[in-house]
Amino acid sequence: MSQQTDRAEQVKRLQRREGWRRRLPLVPALVFTIVVTQVPFILSLWYSLTEWKIVPPEPRNFIGFSNYVDLLDNRFFREAVWTSIWMTVSAVLLSLLLGTLLAILLDRKFFGQGFVRTLLITPFLIMPVVAGLVWKTQVFNSSFGVLNWLLDSLGFERIEFVTRWPLWSIVSVLVWQWTPFMMLIVLAGLQGQDQSVLEAARVDGASSRAMFFQITLPQLRPYLELGILLGSIYLIQVFDYVDVITGGGPDSTNVPYFVFQRSIGGGWQFGQASAYSIVVVIASIVIATFGLRVLSNLLEGEKP
């Protein structure tokens, strides 16, 4: 009988070495990421616990959680939170709805499909600032805007859209830009469907309506969730559109813009502004955690 050697120790050492061989190439990127994101974040955390004004320059005082406590009492902050919620929820849901409808259309074969798809994706490729400017000056504007030209030629009175509906003006630009994103996600879901399942449903006597609501839509669920979560993470931090289209003001100042106003935008209250931004970060982390869970479910679901 040959002696049975216990290899556990050796195996463990080999695994450890293999693990480092894989991690090592990632280290530079990791260090860079920590330096440019985590260090400022920790500094912000610290600032949020201080009272710190630059103009006029005052020494930085540690005041504990007072900034956070004051948040709740601040009417402007509460309004900014509501604006953020409204803006994010309505833009995400509307773009998801429109994106789904477009995806269903694009899922069928028709002449010029590729061309139409490219056209539909284009809004997503435009820089946010440019999109905001184009809409503000060429669509909403009361003198030069297309919408007002249309109203005018139909005999209606001109409307200063941005002044009258600041929130919805921004939301419509957001929807215009984000519909293609949602469309692509849903389209991926539609095209990933097992064709034979649809055929089975047809043989089983399902009408087109029943097929969509009982077979397709439930299968799209993870994709819709993914769209909602990714969209929310991006749209909760919208800043450029607000700055370009309304420049803040009632009904259109969301939390990121409020943070800006309170700090480098003229308020110079870095302590308070840091506290606001921490709140946004926490909200984003909560949403992102859900988002990643959905994403991993989706990837697991694709394994046969």
Binding site: D194, V197, A200, A201, R202, V203, D204, G205, I215
Partner: protein, 360 residues
């Protein structure tokens, strides 16, 4: 319960000139299990999908229960189909999967549940009714797909390679269960497979297709003993028939080297009427014998299956090596490298150069 009929039915896919199925004429009586068999690309699945309504019929017609359904959409044909990958609805439980078709028909919930339970009992699926397909094994999924079909009590069952995703042992077991179930329910069934063993063991009749053209429809035994052409002869039977090209000498019969091939009267007569020339003869492995007479050769491989063994023998024929497969006893003493002699006890199948069978 219904009769199914294909009348001159063709399917030509857009962008091609060659029909995937060409002028298919097939009559399937009520209650029969007909197997469509052929190699890949033979059009067997297309033919089935034409019956399901999932493929257009470009020429000809398809009838179910004497009703022309050529242009009827699948949902109105009263057929149930089992797909190769089962195509279960992933978001629904087993129960909902099986009850889906009934729900579409507007069958009341109580009756639906009762019929699903009944089918689940037949298929041993009762413990799994509340599971989702992804939590089932391959065999269970296959049975759910079957259950989805039988719950409907349709006029016709269509099965598109329903066993090909199962492992070998389960496949053999399910094969017999399926044939038994079909016989008990008595529902006309069209069954597609590429596996000729499945076709032979399950089919009441078997239709052999090649390149979209129907070659032969017959009972399995007839298909085996009287293949109408070279393709069917080579396709049906495992291991395959030995097919050898020889020179016909007219009235003098046929010889394979030193081996004289026994011919029945009709074949000998038909052969004598033809001009001498190259023809193909076919002999099944069980009709060849190892012994002390016949053509000499050397054993290259012995496949031992326990109950029998197949001996591969290389003989010299027309100046080149020729491989013959001979069936021998399970306990054969033959080994690789042995020099043996092969004789033939018939029957011998004879095919003309165009592949058609000569003689009876």
């Amino acid at each position: 319960m219904a009769e199914v009929r294909y009348e001159n039915a063709s399917r030509i896919y857009p962008g091609t000139d060659i029909p995937a199925v060409e002028s298919l004429d097939l009559d399937i009586p009520d209650g029969e299990l007909l197997v469509l068999v052929g190699p890949s690309g033979s059009g067997k699945s297309t033919a089935l999908r034409m019956l399901a309504g999932l493929e257009f019929v470009d020429k000809g017609s398809v009838y179910i229960d004497n009703e022309d359904v050529t242009l009827t959409p699948p949902q109105d044909r009263d057929i149930a189909m089992v797909f190769q990958n089962y195509a279960l609805y992933p978001n629904m439980t087993v129960q909902a999967n099986m009850g889906f078709a009934l729900k579409q028909q507007g069958v009341p919930k109580a009756e639906r549940a009762e019929r699903v339970r009944e089918a689940a009992r037949i298929l041993d699926l009762e413990p799994y009714l509340d599971r989702k397909p992804k939590n089932l094994s391959g065999g269970q999924r296959q049975r759910v797909a079957m259950g989805r079909a039988i719950v409907r009590r349709p006029q016709v069952f269509l099965m598109d390679e329903p066993l090909s995703n199962l492992d070998a042992k389960l496949r053999v077991q399910t094969r017999t269960e399926l044939a038994d179930l079909q016989a008990r329910l008595g529902v006309t069934t069209v069954y597609v497979t590429h596996d000729q063993v499945e076709a032979m063991t399950m089919g009441h009749r078997v239709a052999v297709l090649k390149d979209g053209i129907l070659q032969q429809v017959d009972r399995p035994r007839t298909l085996y003993s009287h293949p109408v052409n070279l393709f069917v002869a080579g396709f049906i039977g495992s291991p395959a028939m030995n097919l050898v090209e020889v020179l016909s000498e007219g009235t003098n019969g046929l010889r394979l080297g030193s081996l004289s091939l026994p011919l029945d009267e009709q074949t000998a007569h038909d052969l004598a009427a033809r001009d001498p020339g190259a023809i193909t003869v076919g002999v099944r492995p069980e009709h060849l014998r190892l012994g002390s007479e016949g053509i000499a050769g050397q054993v290259t491989v012995v496949e031992e299956l326990g109950s029998e063994s197949y001996v591969h023998i290389t003989v010299e024929h027309q100046g080149g090596p020729l491989l013959l497969v001979v069936r021998a006893e399970g306990e054969t003493m033959t080994q690789r490298g042995d020099n043996v002699q092969v004789s033939c006890r018939g029957p011998v199948h004879v095919f003309a150069p165009n592949g058609e069978r000569i003689g009876a």
